[in-house]
Amino acid sequence: MNTLSLPRIAYGVLVALLLVFLLAPVLLVFPISFSADNFIAWPPSGWSPRWYVALARESELLLAFRNSVVLGLVVTVLSLAIALPAAVMLVRKEFPGRDILFSVFTAPLLLPSIVLGLAILIVFVGRGLVGSWFGMVLAHLTLTLPYALRVLATGLKTLPPAVEDAAGTLGARPFTVFRRVTLPLMAPALIAAGALSFLVSFDEVVISLFIVGPQLKVLPVSLYHYVESRTDPLVASASAVLILVTLLLVIVVERAVGLRKAVGGGG
């Protein structure tokens, strides 16, 4: 360990300030969620779990939560099922225009979601897809697929060298190689891609906002509408629950791969 020099201390303080700045709103949610007040105020005048109780009785939000979870799971499974073969093609097969295709398929990552949402709405409106489960899944896939593809492609590219070749020379047919060698070694990437897909879908406000209908509600949109009309700390307790769920998922991914490795450099 070095002795603490002035620049090091200054650097530490800067990092601490940045962290506080980034995390303060998230951390504030927790005390506010235990507020006894009827509206959001800081500091709360008293403490109570009453808003958690209220949250549990808010049937519309609960339904939206359930919808969001189901939607997230469906989108996750489909993302993996589509992105895995796509990644294998794009990473393993040599064909003209491969690099361009890869860039195109991962491009929506760079589009503002308002643009994407509008585009999807325009396509969906005439086809009766607005407000439908099918439309919602389709719209979310446009968001999650690029992430899943990128993570799985990275996973494929960073497989240990020649292990698949070795399996082949030992007599394994291509599908056996995939099942016995490639897939097990891809497990961390699959977990990471799945968790990311779920979070992206579960979190999505803007695009969902364009597509939800009266019969299909998802949590972020319902929360958004709730905040528009009410100012009580119920949203804080809902947020607190969401933060904990997200944290849990992130921990799972971190355990499985290390988040940085999973998301890291694709090109």
Partner: protein, 383 residues
């Protein structure tokens, strides 16, 4: 999968018998193989050779000369861009790796990280539908061969580099392939284990009559166990010959330098047949047109060194030149002398066992060697 076995499975193999067609059947044939990656110049080109059943070929050559690429073409891991590969007369050029029955030890080991050592070794047997009990026994025997029985339940990442390499070896040997391709399989072992393993490989290869290609950077290793050696250079097979022939009669300066040390002398052919090198005129075995610029090569251990104080050694057609010892290096079983001979510096190697005397720096000496030991090449053909 039927595996053809050599008739001489008893143990003795035709080590220095030249590859005679008919005596032993040709097993592996490479016909004008070529591999190009994209539009780059070919990584391997015009590579032709024939291996007899049970023959062990050593492939030598500098880094990047195409050794790994050659093995990958033979095993079917990369498609050839031209040429044919025949196994026992059958064209396998288009067969995928899993249908070629070749054991491969990869330069980077390529162990399965998610399987234990035993599972790694068992994988090929499992693919061949060998029964569990038999597989278990064969796996332990293979691990015994590479002295790793104790580590059967470890994961590859819990092994040292050398241990991983031996697992890779066991994994390729356990399936008793008809053809074995080894890409520097001993590069990460210490000297003692290396010798042990290379003899083990040789034993198994001979016992089972496996036809094998052994890539190595170590020419001593290649000389020690191979029936024949091929030296590659920039994607081409420069020479293929028995170790002795390769050592004594290299066909190019490149090969001569690659298999053992060489003294280089530059000179010009004279009218009478001798070669002028500086002040001296040397005799050589071959002839060439007068006036041609030549590169002469002499192996350091072919040069006899005697004290100048005693009488000049018996000439009898030998090349005899005066010199002065400049440097002495002791290298265990031999002494290396650097001797100034005219404007040239000659390396002389003498065995510490048989050498009757040793010399000190500054000693005046005579160097003597036979014209037969003087290889001549046209100047400009060297690397």
């Amino acid at each position: 999968m039927a595996i053809a076995r050599a008739p001489h499975a008893a143990g003795e193999a035709p080590r220095d018998a030249a590859p005679a067609a008919g005596l032993n059947s040709v097993h592996l044939t490479l016909e004008a193989l070529e591999k190009r990656y994209g539009n780059l110049p070919p990584s391997v080109s015009a590579l032709s050779l024939q291996l007899r059943q049970g023959e062990l070929l050593g492939l030598l050559g500098p880094s990047g000369c195409g050794k790994t690429t050659t093995l990958r073409m033979i095993s079917g891991l990369v498609p050839v861009t031209a040429g044919r590969i025949l196994v026992a007369g059958r064209d396998v050029t288009a067969l995928p790796p899993y249908r070629r029955d070749m054991g491969v030890v990869f330069q980077a080991y390529a162990l399965f990280p998610h399987m234990t050592v035993a599972e790694n070794v068992a994988f090929g047997l499992e693919m061949r539908k060998v029964s569990r009990t038999e597989a278990k026994e064969r796996v332990m025997r293979a691990l015994g061969m590479v002295r790793l029985e104790a580590l059967a339940d470890r994961k590859p990442r819990e092994l040292s580099g050398g241990q991983q390499q031996r697992v890779a070896l066991a994994r390729a040997l356990v399936i008793e392939p008809s053809i074995l391709l080894l890409d520097e399989p001993l590069s990460n072992l210490d000297a003692k284990l290396r010798d042990e393993m290379r003899n083990e490989i040789r034993d198994i290869q001979q016992r089972l009559g496996i036809t094998a290609v052994f890539v190595t950077h170590d020419q001593v290793e290649a000389m020690a166990i191979c029936d024949r050696i091929g030296v590659m250079r920039a994607g081409r097979l420069e020479q293929i010959a028995t170790p002795l022939e390769m050592y004594e009669r290299p066909t190019t300066p490149f090969v001569a330098d690659f298999v053992g040390r060489m003294n280089h002398l530059r000179g010009t052919r004279l009218e009478g047949g001798g070669v002028r090198v500086g002040e001296a005129v040397l005799a050589t075995a071959g002839t060439s047109p007068a006036g041609e610029a030549l590169l002469l090569m002499v192996r350091p251990h072919r040069i006899q060194m005697t004290p100048a104080a005693t009488a000049q050694p018996e000439a009898a057609g030998r090349n005899v030149q005066p010199g002065t010892v400049r440097r002495v290096t002791f290298v265990g079983d031999a002494l290396h002398y650097e001797v100034a001979m005219g404007a040239e510096t000659m390396l002389v190697e003498s065995s510490t066992v048989s050498g009757p005397q040793s010399f000190a720096v500054g000693d005046a000496v005579f160097l003597a060697w036979s014209p037969d030991d003087t290889l001549t090449f046209p100047a400009g053909t060297e690397a």
